[in-house]
């Protein structure tokens, strides 16, 4: 069985112009929504107090709000989490109570009101820790891109390196844009997922580049555009199947992994699509437009000292 067979070459680069337009729109759109709606930062980044309560029966959110309001937790945000029996409550800081004790207090109130209320989890993150994490996260992403730039330059060529990094930045920006426009919570696990998307998308890109390099060396007197088309066609089966199997397991995570892992799975699911698309269009296109050529990719011949002279003996 084979998804794409036959000996014809798909002319991917024919669509390079529309693809470039599409990507530009998506990236600009992402920037716009990130500027307007911003990201729905999770507790890990903003700091604050959050508790998870499990009830025996369906939780009555209004009643919970009323119970909390009666004890001056007016601005508590109460919502379902994972199932109708579980609620997630975000508490605002209050004068006179240490922020680290806020959660304990709220749990005590809810337990008093309904004895079936069970503390499933609680988190308190101080604002300073949240700020640090935001800084660290951004830094991690930048260092990641930089290291990749260096490695790919070393193994391939700077045009490819730039192509792959632009593609990665493209993936990250659009994934963040999606989280922004849908208002999905961006927590630590989502950050990990975004970084995993970088890893995955890169994997894809490298495989394509590897083939492009090989074909440049093997096939003579052919336009770079054709070489790239040939390479993309040759790797198309692999790209589709690997994306497919990864998507399979991600769907398993998305549907079975539970609420804690939902954001993670969402970011990765979307990232895999974008990553696959970007390694076909963005990465190769950038390398092509930067003028990658056969000469740049020939293995460097190491000149041995005295190799041009006749042997003495």
């Amino acid at each position: 069985m084979q998804i794409f067979s036959g000996n014809y070459t798909v002319n991917f680069m024919k669509l390079s112009f529309p693809a470039a337009i599409l990507s530009t729109i998506l990236v600009l759109g992402s920037f716009a929504t990130l500027a307007i709606n911003q990201l729905n930062w999770g507790l890990d980044f903003t700091g604050g107090t959050q508790i998870e309560i499990g009830y025996q029966n369906t939780a009555d959110l209004d009643a919970i709000r009323a119970q909390l309001a009666a004890s001056e937790f007016n601005d508590a945000v109460v919502q379902n989490f994972g199932s109708s029996k579980d609620v997630l409550i975000r508490l605002a800081s209050r004068e006179g109570i240490k922020p680290s004790e806020l959660g304990d207090k709220a749990i005590a109130i809810l337990k008093q009101a309904d004895s079936s209320a069970e503390m499933r989890g609680s988190s308190f993150v101080s604002a300073s820790v949240g700020e640090e994490l935001t800084e660290q996260g951004g830094l991690a992403m930048l260092i990641c891109l930089l290291c990749i730039l260096v490695y790919v330059t070393m193994r391939f060529e700077w045009r490819f390196a730039l192509g792959s990094v632009i593609a990665l930045a493209h993936d990250v920006i659009i994934t963040l844009g999606l989280f922004s426009i849908l208002g999905l919570e961006f927590d630590l696990t989502v950050l990990a997922a975004v970084l995993a998307v970088i890893g995955y998308s890169l994997n894809d890109t490298i495989v394509v580049f590897d083939r492009i390099r090989e074909n440049f060396r093997k096939i003579r007197d052919v336009e770079p555009t054709d070489i790239i088309n040939t390479s993309l066609t040759q790797t198309l089966n692999r790209t589709t199947i690997t994306s497919g199997t990864t998507l399979l397991v991600l769907f398993a995570l998305f549907f079975l992994g539970g609420a804690t892992i939902h954001g993670f799975a969402t970011a990765l699911l979307f990232g895999i699509f974008i990553g696959t698309y970007s390694s076909i269009y963005i990465a190769s296109l950038v390398a092509l437009k930067l003028g990658v050529s056969r000469e740049d990719l020939m293995p460097t011949v190491i000149e041995k000292e005295g190799a041009d002279q006749d042997p003495i003996m």
């Binding site: 990641c144 590897d210 497919g244 398993a252 892992i261």
Partner: protein, 614 residues
């Protein structure tokens, strides 16, 4: 001939996989409910205690699976959660407060396996439930205190040297010493520079000498403040009866505390925040101890228990309080006997000097005051703490001393260490603040494990089915590799001592399953291409593996870089995810390239083939 794997390669593969399987196998066994008994101060866990424990349990008619003494702890395995609870309660009562009794889940690893170092994977707090605290030491107040001590110290030193100064002011980052004339300033600068090597002196402006702590001293002060807090927290965590607690330094001024299995965070926080102090007091030798025990305690004195040595009669007046202790370290004196060296601040030193001048030859005692939770709560729901005073040392004053002295005549280096530890615990500590707290209830932890397992199994099955349909017999080979990959990951995770499995870590495993097939997909697609190009099946296998190798290597190295950065920068859950990701990349390279090649060669290598099942 093409496609032959040498025997040594088969042997290496067998050994690697065998080892990983061996170390993965402890995860198949369940866990026993257990209680763990460890010694508090001045108590030992020995064979005698094992006998006592088994007698006590028998008396309470609690059946136990086994009672083992190990690493100075006794582990009692029990039948179920209910007997575990009962055993803990009855042992707590019968052993008294010198021992800590904690509930635990002990892995039911067979003896021969644990003898080889086999252990199941450690689960993160999100999977087993518990509390995680991140605390920050208030460095400003620690540094301020050090400056204040130096302020007093400088004043005394300058006065003794007859160098006149106008005043000393404590400012940010240092001390300003004001003088009336340049000559005195120069003299003072020369004197102080030689005397206090841990300070840096500079002339700030006219007639003002500025003293600031050297980098070294700053570092030491910070380090000490954190270490002191860690010591104290460790002590208190024992009181909570937690098995396998983690108390660790993180970064320059932070402490991570992880308490698996604790659910009452409010109680945990109160106990961790409880303070301890100590007092140096004079022993009352004018009155008779036995009289006092009989009930005739003289006014101005009180009876306090000296652990292991009976009651002592001490005067109520305090010589020096623990807040004046700057440092206490254990060591050996010139005769090789254990000792504890104590350093007081200048104020404490002055008091001690005044006292010892008139008390040479008399005994002096150290009283340790702990605030222990009584288990009851007041009207506001706060835990009630009770001050518990015990004598931890009695020593004869051998001479006049001030802010530096030594306690000798201790029985063992261990006793010296204990005393130093308690002295530090009773000293004034830099305040700490909780800056992050995460609690996961036990039900959520169990649910997380269940969901994680289900997702892994489902994802795994889907991929297996797909591969067999798409690549037929070669797909079957890839599936063997994929299964081995999972076993190897679990085995390696179990082998690495610091690795813990978290929920994001489980997600990492799932993701690796999806990505691990990539190497095989690359190889198989190559083989198909070679076949399409008209090569013979054997040649196609040979060239397929060869030309796919560098691609796989490049692709995996770049992903590995991403994993490494995640590990270096991330904390907690991100670290868990990156560890599984990196291990997965390494194992999948091995299984997908080396192992599948070996199987393919064994299956088809050297045979006359006309067609490949791919």
């Amino acid at each position: 001939m093409l496609n032959q794997t040498p025997l040594w390669k088969y042997i290496i593969i067998a050994v690697v996989i065998g080892l990983c399987t061996l170390y993965a196998s402890p995860n198949l066994y369940g866990e026993d409910h257990a209680v763990q008994i460890s010694a508090g101060r001045n108590a030992v866990v020995d064979e005698q205690l094992v006998e006592k424990v088994s007698a006590d349990l028998a008396a309470a008619s609690i059946e136990s699976k086994s009672i083992v003494l190990e690493n100075e702890q006794i582990l009692v395995r029990l039948l179920d959660a209910d007997t575990q609870l009962r055993a803990r309660e009855s042992l707590e009562k019968s052993l008294g407060e010198n021992y800590y009794v904690a509930m635990n889940l002990a892995p039911d690893t067979p003896e021969w396996l644990s003898a080889l170092g086999g252990e199941p994977m450690k689960l993160g707090l999100d999977l087993r439930g518990g509390v995680h605290f991140l605390m920050e030491v208030d460095m400003n107040s620690a540094l301020e205190k050090t400056l204040k001590d130096s302020d007093n110290d400088f004043r005394t030193a300058l006065r003794e040297e007859d160098i006149r100064y106008r005043t000393i002011k404590q400012v940010e980052n240092g001390l300003e010493i004001y003088f009336r004339d340049q000559d005195t300033l120069d003299k003072a600068e020369f004197f102080l520079k030689n005397r206090n090597r841990d300070f840096v002196f500079s002339e700030k402006s006219d007639l003002v000498l500025f003293a600031t702590m050297s980098e070294q001293k700053l570092l030491e002060t910070r380090d000490y403040a954190v270490k002191q807090n860690i010591t104290i927290i460790r002590n208190r965590v024992n009181q909570l009866g937690v098995a396998e607690p983690v108390v660790q330094k993180q970064g320059p001024d932070r402490i991570v505390v992880q308490l698996p299995g604790i659910q009452d965070t409010a109680k945990a926080k109160e106990i961790l925040n409880a303070t301890a102090t100590l007092e140096y007091r004079e022993v009352d030798i004018e009155h008779d101890v036995s009289d006092a025990i009989a009930g005739r305690v003289p006014p101005g004195s009180e009876l306090l228990n000296y652990e292991g040595r009976g009651p002592q009669l001490l005067k109520k007046a305090i010589i020096v309080e623990g807040s004046h202790i700057i440092d206490a370290t254990s060591g050996v004196d010139q005769n090789g006997m254990p000792k504890v060296s104590i350093k007081l601040d200048s104020q404490g030193g002055a008091k001690m000097l005044a006292f010892t001048k008139r008390a040479v030859g008399k005994p002096m005692a150290v009283v340790f005051i702990e605030y222990k939770a009584t288990g009851e709560r007041d009207a506001a729901g706060k835990l009630i703490f009770e001050a518990k005073r015990t004598v931890i040392s009695v020593a004869t004053i051998n001479g006049v001393f001030g802010n530096q002295f030594e306690t000798t005549g201790l029985d063992s280096p261990k006793e010296a260490q204990n005393l130093a530890l308690l002295l530090r615990a009773g000293a004034l500590i830099a305040p700490i603040q909780i800056i992050e707290e995460r609690t996961v209830g036990p039900s959520l932890g169990k649910e997380n494990i269940k969901l994680g397992k289900e997702a892994i199994i489902a994802g795994f099955m889907l991929v297996l089915v797909f591969m067999v349909i798409y690549y037929k017999k070669f797909g079957f080979v890839a599936n063997i590799a994929l299964s081995l990959n999972l076993v190897m990951m679990v085995g390696i995770m179990s082998m690495i001592p610091g690795a813990t499995l978290t929920l994001p870590g489980m997600a990492g495993i799932v993701l690796t399953v999806g990505m691990a097939v990539d190497a095989n997909v690359l190889i198989f697609e190559r083989i198909r291409e070679e076949v399409a190009d008209g090569r013979s099946p054997q040649q196609a296998i040979h060239f397929g593996y060869d030309s796919a190798f560098s691609t796989i290597l490049d692709a995996n190295i770049t992903t590995f870089i991403a994993g490494l950065i995640l590990f270096a920068v991330g904390t907690g859950p991100i670290k868990g995810f990156s560890i599984t990701l990196m291990i997965g990349i390494a194992t999948s390279m091995f299984t997908a390239i080396v192992v599948t090649r070996a199987i393919v060669n064994a299956w088809w290598g050297g045979k006359r083939l006309t067609k490949l099942s791919i």
